[in-house]
Point group: none
Chain length 406, copies 2
């Protein structure tokens, strides 16, 4: 595939406007033999017209057969080979709740757990306490102070929390403290590389653990914690640098805003209750300020995870009904796809290739696809291809790439 060095060399500052509309977990499966998928079942006159006029295909998010997490799946859509570029687990957890992670920051995922009188773990998830209860436990830790670093801690969901250390000279080369079994004690923070920065950071983390142990000892069941996935700013190549794009993100969930920030997009303010039409209206308001808009629709994935075939279909129909507001903006290039498949039938992300269409009236190659759906896309002009190549195609259709060689 085209490398970022090549993109830096070929990308032009001028060209058309691109909208990438991502319906999370768009791809699906039929519930029964001869059945239709969620997308095939949905009544989508606008998507069908775009598919009929434009180029269609199927994207492979990570690699054939690999079920994608949301982080790598979005990196791929943004043109980053997810097997090369990596956002650490701690950073993903942090940005997932809107905690920004910058160059001076180290983030980790935390679990509250239960230990017995000997300090041995009896429940690695503290009985999956409700999020509200975890928030109270977190409150008990907020006044922990560490020398020279700013500490931020916040509940995520149930027994999970995110921890961020901000300061100079920190390292993410710290091993997990979770022993992964019951009957063992949480481990102290230890280094995975013997550097001054790692030793210094491990020392700070151990001070945090000791102060937390003291504060939690009378709590039940969350009387201890473990930490995993220490990671720092992945320092990803920036959209402005590699693609020469001024890019904006319109998303409702923090995690997608976070990934967008990591690649250098501006994040447009949204309301947690925004519906697809509201999101498209946010794009309209910022239309003149950006070359590229990433628009994220969450609930296709959520209803897929729920196993609600009909509810997922309804979300797709809601997006379709709102589409004219996006089309009224007359984008030069409109890319519509998902980050991965979430078939209601599987109640889970899956590895199945994801329907994708590129509609760019000045440059697209029409195919014989008659509507937007998995099986129609199998016959399309784009074929099956790595999701990480979609950005290059979007730039090409926007006439934003110089010729390679003479």
């Amino acid at each position: 595939m085209a490398s970022f060095d090549l993109m830096r060399r070929l990308a032009k500052k001028q060209g058309g406007k691109i909208v990438m509309l991502v319906m999370d977990g768009l791809g699906g499966l039929p519930l029964e033999v001869d059945g239709l998928t969620e997308l095939e079942e949905a009544t989508t006159p606008n998507l069908d017209r775009l598919a009929r006029e434009g180029s269609n295909g199927l994207t492979i998010p990570i690699a054939r057969g690999i079920e994608p997490g949301s982080g790598p799946a979005h990196l791929a859509l943004f043109g980053y080979d997810p097997l090369v570029y990596d956002i650490g687990r701690g950073v993903l957890e942090a940005i997932g709740i809107g905690m920004e992670v910058g160059p001076d920051d180290i983030a980790a995922r935390g679990n509250f757990c239960t230990v017995d009188d000997n300090g041995l773990i009896t429940d690695r998830r503290a009985g999956r306490i409700p999020t509200e209860q975890a928030a109270e436990v977190v409150d008990a830790l907020r006044d922990i102070r560490l020398p020279g670093v700013e500490l931020t801690i916040q509940e995520v969901k149930e027994h999970r929390f995110a921890l961020r250390l901000r300061g100079k000279g920190l390292s993410s080369q710290i091993l997990d403290t979770d022993p992964q079994v019951v009957g063992a004690a949480p481990l102290p923070a230890q280094v995975s590389a013997n550097t001054t920065e790692a030793q210094h950071t491990a020392g700070l983390v151990n001070q945090f653990i000791e102060q937390a142990r003291e504060r939690l000892k009378n709590q039940r069941p969350a009387n201890m914690l473990t930490l995993r996935g220490f990671s720092g700013d992945p320092a990803l190549p920036q959209f402005q640098d590699v693609y020469k794009l001024k890019a904006a993100c319109v998303a409702v969930y923090p995690m997608y805003k976070g990934v967008s920030r990591l690649v250098g997009m501006d994040v447009i303010e949204t309301d947690p209750h925004d519906e697809p039409l509201d999101e498209f209206n946010h794009i309209a308001e910022a239309w003149d300020d950006y070359d590229f808009f990433f628009c994220h629709i969450k609930y296709t994935d959520s209803r897929g995870e729920d196993g609600s075939f009909d509810a997922k279909t309804a979300v797709i129909e809601q997006v379709d009904a709102a589409l004219p507001a996006l089309l009224d903006l007359q984008p030069d290039v409109l890319v519509i796809t998902g980050d991965h498949s979430t078939p209601a039938r599987l109640k889970s992300h899956s590895w199945h290739p994801v329907p994708a269409l590129i509609w760019a009236p000045a440059t697209h190659m029409p195919d014989r696809v008659t509507g937007f759906g998995e099986r129609e896309c199998m016959t399309g002009a784009l074929g099956q291809f790595p999701a990480a190549e979609l950005m290059v195609l979007a730039l090409a259709h926007a006439r934003r790439l110089d010729r390679y060689g003479a």
Copy 2:
């Protein structure tokens, strides 16, 4: 993709005869919604029969979304990954006018420009003087002599010329002398690597520049020159070595002859006014002497660049009408494709995948394609694949590759 090491190991001296017919810029786009492409519009009974009987697909010349230059696009057709193998700009300019570039040669692209009394550039292209006028300016430079090297200079088009230095111990590690802006003086030749050879070469180039300055000072508007794209023989792996093929090129334009020479093909003499049938007759005359023929048709691309949909269609029809002369030779493998797309609609090369067919009656896998065209090829046996893999397929169909492993 299969590497040259693998080709060296598997390629056999015996096997069928291969013809690769390349219609430059073959791929196109419809002019309007529901329209046909140039190739789909053309009446091509012979191509349609070959497509119906053989295997079809679409090639990706460089990488998805990347608009190919002619040099890299042809390297790909010859099996060289164009992101790995590179022909320098100076060499491309030189071979484009039939100037051969060998192991002792350094080539550069030159521009005549206009400078003011202070030596500052006022026009980087000397008013785009007509080629005939540039030829006279070039004549004024022909008697420049440099110690130990043979100098060749020739006009290209308008203000452009090609320069070749031939001698021992030269280096192409010389920076452009074009400052890329008006109001600045042309730069002296400087090295991009501090080696004896580069310093020696820069010294020679600066002697050339000073003598040229003297000879041009009373010319108007071309009273100075700049040099770019210093490059040497790319030392490409040779057809005879990697494929064990005795190969010949039949082309009308110098550039395609030049690239063929660089990969080790013999270049068969042609007339600049040769039509497709004449080119096929050249192949017939040399039929017994070669295993592989590359035949290049230029005008599909030229008419696409002109934006002349109907004229491009007419060139395709002309090729189709001449095809029986090629088929009469009974090639074992006939590959028909383009080096890239040049849709009349875009008046430019484009990144769109290129229709390709392999007709090899003894070995081809028929598909359900009913005629040769972009949308038919989308459904074919070959799928979409990198153009650089086409040579391996051609060798396979000619039974010229040993089995890999037992």
